[in-house]
Symmetry: C4
């Protein structure tokens, strides 16, 4: 397959993994930037991630509109992706989801969500909370246009994740494999922090030095990173769709 | 299929979805009003929702009695459905269930259940708690007749959901697809609220304006709504039973 | 099948249901009294309940010893069953298990476990906590002989369930179908109570009158009771082993 | 099969069980000491435990390095195993994992993790918490070399389990079957303790006498111990790989 074909297949796998790991359900989506044209990105048409196939992937511009004639329904909130790709040239993949266990941290903001476990380090030292009401008042909470999307991207800033009050989160990575891993461990970190607080006493967060040490050791196709991608794809029943970094297929 | 056949098939699908999503177990039921005769509704005979087939669907009147000779056992609590259909001409589908995570809010009433997440907005701004003991004293807590049912319907009023103390909930929608979605996200909203309270500090509920904005944007067969129905049916293993709004079958 | 064959098959089904519903794991067991000889009961040999077949069922006396030559290993804690059958002629089926969510109530005894949900009513108004250390000091916590068993049975008294501190519970019913249902809903009631307490404020327990009303309406082979047995057997993959009260097989 | 072949097959089974029981996910590993050469041990190459096959098992020395030419990637943290085998001649099997529900006890250290349930007794009376930062400052939290490993082994001392702050745990047993069982029940004990504390009031821990009584009754191939191994292997879909203590295969 061409590298573009491989990327699109990886995007299908990412959809299935996020569904199996319960980061998304019927709602939520994942996108990847076009490798040759930074002004475009790929995302599924409006469909539950678990059901996404190659033919369901569409190509959008940074205005969130399809670059070709498209009669199929698109995700209403595709502007989350468009605006983050627009604001962040370093970002190559985005997830938006409503993973249940991060929701409390957007609703009750007395306890900021921060890394407490090593696998949660990739969410970064600071996870801002975006409240659509601050700028737009009473809405249906959906990111329905570029104004909404840009306001969210502004709040995200240079961070990896922004929580969205009463709604979910948006996460940004340098690759699909990074943003999926980050999104899978985000709720786990949230649960560990919630329960640590229930135990009482001082909570030991990861230090900034530890978060940096982990970030600097990260590589999208290291054997350690690959191990999780391969495993999650297997759990999600799509091992056969996985292309290894060396271009070989899993079998 | 005729539209009535389709509706009954949809009711079978609704049973399976509610079972798969753990809203019901052996107990709990879902009904839909007859599209041509508002004084009648369809519901399964006494059977666990996961096991319901087309032939298990019976037709009842607003007194909760079968409109044809019926030798099979009926749900004891079918009067929940009859009384809500009687009191609420706007309601076309009803769920009664004991979804575990809403139970605490009926037992400890210091914290009212209200929407804190966007997918929970459809439960409406106010979720009353009905206590059968207020009117009927010590009972087995079951809604065994029209008196019980009407008292519950009175408590429900014009709301979408009433909690039933020590028992479960009743929810009312304009369509099967609406009441199923509402019933699936109700426990999720309950969990998010419980955990937000555990984090401490101020809880940001959805505002009345946000709840209204979401309600006014809702349409039973919008692509967004359909996406969830299609996904849940797939998870429940009954994609092949789903009829699309345009009358075509999923395949 | 003879009624004895049917009963033994029901016992196999009960083992599988309790495993599927996560009341037991590798450990825990269920027994049923011999219908024609009240001084004997049936229980599996030492084996995880999910793996139990007909040939694994053994017949024991009220001293906990096999009534026939038996070379296979027996459950160490079979004396729980023997002692309860000895002390309680009204009891025809017993479960012992370590269902996770009841454990906290045996460890932290400030909050007694009592019914808060209608499906939990069958645990009865009072659930005593037995601590083996009170009578026997430091042990391995196992009920290894009739002295241990009789002390537990004494604590159980005329109740339906006794918690065992740091260990699990023993439950007693008039039939297999009753004791299985009770044991499945016991952890659910425990979770509802724990979470209601986390919400704060007054907890509304079921009243004694409500518990009695439910108990007096209970019948082992009512359609409502049967509905759950049939459903759980289906989930556990053993619908084909189920014999209906009228002697017919499910198909 | 030779006893060495059997041991390696058991190690494959242990990998699968730990995955199925959610002690490990893509990460985490289990090892066993060479029965004839105490200076060597077996562990999988870098691979998710659920995917491990016989050919994925490698043989390492107590310096954590492979004893034969090995081109495949090894676990970065294999030094956990090497250092514990080096320090503890009594230990024949080691698990390192990030089981979610033990994490809070490493993060909020006000409540030490101690046995509260009989199946948790095997974690021993004292579970130290190792913080890599105490000796090594800001790191990526991984046990990347023998210095890290030896510091962890020192903290573990003669105990069965050490928690690793913000990371996971390391457990040590006299056999694979022991360390797997211990690692499966460790998170369950953690959950029971967390919830008991939420109920409030005095928590009744297992006494030192009870822990000792259980430890002295333990035997790796007792019928009770075997029962769990057989059950977990069945759940993990690898009954056919299990060799019974008498050398016979399960079927």
């Amino acid at each position: 397959m061409s590298s573009l074909d491989t990327l699109i297949q990886d995007l299908v796998v990412a959809n299935r993994i996020l569904a199996k790991e319960e980061v998304v359900d019927a709602y939520g989506h994942v996108s990847v930037r076009h490798p040759d044209n930074p002004n475009r990105f790929f995302i599924a048409r409006s469909l539950a991630p678990d059901l996404v196939e190659r033919d369901d992937i569409v190509e959008l511009g940074l205005d969130g509109q399809p670059v070709r004639d498209e009669t199929r329904q698109l995700y209403l909130e595709r502007f989350i992706h468009a605006a983050i790709f627009e604001a962040r040239p370093d970002v190559h993949a985005v997830v938006h989801a409503h993973a249940e266990d991060i929701l409390p941290f957007g609703i009750a903001q007395a306890t900021p969500l921060r890394p407490v476990i090593h696998s949660g380090s990739f969410i970064g030292p600071h996870v801002p909370v975006w409240d659509i009401a601050d700028e737009f008042g009473d809405t249906d909470l959906l990111v329905r246009n570029m104004d909404h999307g840009r306001d969210l991207a502004r709040c995200l800033g240079s961070n990896k994740v922004a929580l969205m009050r009463g709604h979910g989160f948006a996460s940004a990575g340098r690759s699909l494999i990074e943003v999926v891993r980050l999104s899978v461990y985000l709720p786990r970190n949230a649960r560990a922090l919630l329960r640590a607080k229930q135990l009482g006493g001082e909570v030991k967060y990861l230090t900034e030095g530890e978060i940096n040490a982990r970030a600097s050791g990260y590589s999208a196709y290291s054997p350690e990173t690959w191990r999780a991608w391969e495993y999650w794809a297997s759990k999600a029943g799509c091992s056969h769709m996985v292309t290894r970094p060396d271009g070989k297929h899993e079998h």
